[in-house]
């Protein structure tokens, strides 16, 4: 067992983990941050995406011990300070970019990372950037639209296209 500490959503946390404990398991089971979801076991789906030191990573692909000393942001830390939805979160609601909600935390983390790197992406760039995030409900149409809207670019209205 190793003792680790890190900052999660601005709060200092620590815990004892086995060497094999994944960051995703540490966040969900030790920290009770169940917004980070586990959708596969081959690092394909992206439901577990979090930001580690500002980098978008699949938390199922990183050992908790590797995140010792890191700054971690999860979906629970993405809202504005007053609790209101961030621009990206709000755009997902406004443009119906989610249905069952299971892939949504990872999608929001990836979308936020994309817009930090590339504030005005083209639609093709959005689709390419989402390569590591699988959604089974939306067909991505409205996720792409939400991200384009969050970047401040014009998109078609939500319904009756």
């Amino acid at each position: 067992m190793a003792k680790i500490s890190m900052t999660v959503n601005g709060k200092a946390v620590s815990g004892e983990v086995e060497g094999r404990t994944l960051l995703s398991a540490f966040l969900r089971d030790d920290q009770g941050l169940t917004g980070t979801h586990i959708g596969c076991d081959t690092s394909q789906c992206g439901a577990c995406n979090v930001h580690v030191n500002g980098v978008n990573v699949k938390s199922c692909t990183m050992l908790a011990a590797e995140a010792d000393g890191a700054e971690v942001t999860t979906i629970e830390g993405m809202s504005n300070a007053d609790g209101s939805l961030s621009v990206v979160q709000q755009a997902f609601q406004d443009y119906h970019g989610l249905q069952c909600g299971f892939c949504t935390p990872g999608m929001v983390m990836t979308a936020a990372a994309l817009l930090k790197e590339n504030p005005k992406p083209t639609e093709a760039e959005v689709r390419a950037y989402l390569e590591g995030n699988i959604c089974r409900c939306t067909g991505y149409h409205n996720i792409v639209k939400a991200i384009m809207a969050a970047s401040g670019q014009d998109v078609m209205p939500v319904a009756a296209e």
Binding site: T42, S79, Q93, R136, C137, G139, Y140, H141, A159
Partner: protein
Amino acid sequence: MPKDSGIGASNKRREDIRFLTGTGNYTDDINLNGQAYAHIVRSDMAHGTINSIDVSAAEAIDGVVKVFTAADFEGVGGIPCGWQVTDRHGQPMQEPKHPILAEGKVRHVGDPICVIVAETAELARDAADALNIDITELPAVIDMKDALADGATKVHDDLTNNLCYDWGFGSEDLDAVQNAFDTAHHVTTLELKNNRLVANPMEPRVAVGDYARHSDESTLYTTSQNPHVIRLLMGAFVLGIPEHKLRVVAPDVGGGFGAKIYHYAEEAIVTFAAKALGRPVKWTSSRSEAFVSDAHGRDHVTKIELAMDKEGKFLAVRTDTHANMGAYLSTFAPSIPTWLHGTLMAGNYTTPLIHVNVKAVFTNTTPVDAYRGAGRPEATFQLERVIDKAAREMGMDPVEIRRKNFITEFPYATPVAVEYDTGDYHATMDALLAKSDHAGFEARAAQSKANGKLRGFGIAHYIEACGIAPSALVGQLGARAGLYESATVRVNATGGLVVMTGSHSHGQGHETSFAQVVAEMIGIDESMVEIVHGDTANTPMGMGTYGSRSLAVGGSALVRATEKIINKAKKVAAHLMEAAEGDIELKDGQFTVAGTDKSVAWGDVTLAAYVPHNYPLEEIEPGLEETAFYDPANFTYPSGAYGCEVEVDPETGKVTVLGFTAADDFGNVVNPMIVEGQVHGGLAQGIGQALLENCAYDENGQLISASYMDYAMPRADDLPNFTVDHSSVTPCTHNPLGVKGCGEAGAIGSPPALVNAVIDALQRGGHDVAHIDMPLTPGRVWAAMNG
């Protein structure tokens, strides 16, 4: 102008807030005090005899609580099948036993053998290494035709053979059908496969069992589309727990698509183990486990024949299908290739003679059951493919041959036992052609050709039967349950409402759209209406969500219960205003006396009902709470025209979907935003089936597409933007909202449109290719082009 509230408004979804902030409550987020963890040890062979299972070394490991084997489940019932199909000779289908854990034999890769319960999930997994399970591998039957051959290895020793049933259906005068083919101007024949798929909701299945000794009550938290169905099946047929001692909760569920309808062994395992061990037991599926233990979908092999006169009028359709059941019968499996497939073989067309034959076959593979569309995609695919081939052979335009045969008068009784109430297929076809700029296609094709690419346009028109279903009818067809839906509307004293529905939302947005319906009926703000679902402890017995039935059946129950509320509230209002009940009108949350300026607010009436100081107690009871059970009079029949535009790279065979247009008639629409989202998702799954996804076994029964490394889920850059249109509206005539259902349409209409488009592209490029089986991977397309 679009509405901004009530029926027809694209309200933002209220459930989104919790999902966007990581505060949803999915089953795997539930952890109970003292909980232990179950790991299921599964067969890695497709077929074998279990000689011995030695659990002693595993049980001796510190932290392992218990290892369960089939012997521990003696006296526990097997997993029941919910539908009995009668074959064409009047005999019931062959129905094998489906034990909770394998007894004596394993019959597919993934068949559960033992359950290890330990203090942690990791310990439970690790302990599997200490089990000593001796299995002698047996030959496996994987291919359906091999399984039906004389002398084939039997999946179940106690059955006669591997044939579950041989079902014949449709026009009874087989001589007339044969005569139509014998005398037809032209017969088009097509042999095709409808590829096996895995539903893959993003949330893997999870089950948590709990037992309260003080009340002798069991609770199961599970990832289900229909908690009441699970409670009934598991309680009555498996574990023998009466409903009043069994609570089933399906909290936030991360997608279903059919795979979460069925009662699975793991649900019974954790419920049983929690009671046996006196502590909660949790099982969480891994994705790899999901691939071998979630019910699969589709897997039909079909020959279809279409007879036409010289004008291209359809005279007769005959189909012969082999449908894979897998190793055991999943809950609704027998009904999918029969009543949800054969009954749709008329499509949108006036074909007078139709005969359908289906042989359902046991193989050493994971069980197959409903997946989004369930039978209807298989029907639509073969029909719309053979029509396209027929148009080509007859030298007709694919739009024209369809228009020539469209049903135009309703109600229309098909030769395959269903009666369509409404539809306007020319209108949806018109909408498709306009929205897809079909007129501009030739210019776009010329541009592609100039770029060295082959462009094609494919059309499919679909019909589906939703809103399953009239209980008396499905009872005649072999269903072992009714298929009504329920709602309880509880009005609180200060006027807010809690609506408890038997439907279940796992992405469909019922909490938003159901509230729109109730709020509009009363004329109050939607924020006053709360929708509760997913817990048998606080919802009336309902059959759940699948088959695009929630609004058509569950919404109708909601309307009926709300009507009862309004009728009673009017009596109270009449008393309060000293008027005749018949003179009371309700509008915008105000009760008025017709022709007067007297009025009383909704909230005053509800308060009077619960504080009955001034109340007609001798005439009506206090309180305001009503329940309705709605049993539909017929199925609903959504329809639509789908168009796909593709470009094929002749160098590589790679297909790019450039555009996809869906023009649907869903009847009335409550929330257009949600409806369009449902279509998008269905299209992605249908395009996934046609282009990418394939659930493949090798000849030994090993699943070779058992993770996202090998099973090609559609990604964002595989798909185009979609154009959707639901401006064609022919309301359903027999439910109070006039709604038809929209959840499955996209997955039904899109595969044939895409394949038709690719064939069109290849034909335009001079390649005489009549058909390619899905998925249309670059390798398959290139091989077809290059002989």
